[in-house]
Amino acid sequence: MELPDTKTINLKWPDGYHIDFKTGQFITVYWPDTPNYKRAYSLSSCALDQGSYEVTIKRDGKMGTRIVDWAKVGDRLGVLPPAGKFLPVLEHNKHLICIAGGSGVTPFRGFVREATRRKLETKITILYSVRTTNDIIFNTEFRQLEQENPNFKFHVTCTRLTPSDPWTGRCGRIDAAWIQSHIGEAQNTVFYACGPNELVENTQHLVMNELGVPKAQMLVEKWG
């Protein structure tokens, strides 16, 4: 379990199966007993992870509840092949600023994992909005990846802390000034936003309207 309500599951491919896919794509899953009821989840693993997919799922809705509370080792799920264009531009001179809310951080684990394993010079900065310190998915893993990869930075902001919380990091919603403070060469920066619709739409507004970034430099993945 990543959090009490969030679980990463590893979906092993059938023997002899192979497929080409890209880091940042999503898969669509279903239980064999309800084939018409499908949910899409971003891969939290990367394209270097052959032989299985990993998805990180929050307990929400019927699918999320069934997987988080009831899935066990050996269960079989139907999986539609990876799809989507929310892909990291892993070029050596690029800086990816990845803005996430809640479980929207999960595809960025794949981004960082691939860049770290390939020892790429691509800079990746995650700006992650959560309600409280208890809601940070992959906190330990991202801190570890920061140690392994000097080009990766992980920053968290908490929006609903109680006054007694000992958190000394940033508080409050993501704003243009916070994003701006992480931009180096603007023309080589690619912005990503993933999470609930409201967060993604607000981020699009901040990046494109307030910071004046061209639309071509921003990719978004809305989760409704």
């Binding site: 499908k38 949910r39 929400d60 809705g61 019927k62 999320g64 409704g224």
Partner: protein
Amino acid sequence: MSNVPSDLKYAKSHEWVRVNGDTATVGITDHAQHELTDVVFVELPALNRALKAGEACAVVESVKTASDIYSPVSGQVVEINKAVVDNPALVNTDPYAGGWFYKIKLSQPAEVNTLLTPAQYTAQISGS
């Protein structure tokens, strides 16, 4: 551009209401279904359940997310749309007719007057 019928009232949380005498029909808007994308599961309130305006009373799950639906008005549920439970895609294909959720006997009819007009709801979803 989303369809916003002129004969309905709307909640800020994207439900629509069609009043007929002392009963109202409730569903979610074309804009909401478009944002949700393909709806795969609908859970409706129990028949005869008493609801208060603003109370979470149903769940809509799409391929991307699960969302609570809030009753725009207070009253007692007198009919639910079993067709939309059996075929959740109706929410996407026919949000204002075949995709309705439930009918409610209004206990506070004046609440309808506090809901958004089509023009107000259009302004909300267009961000103006």
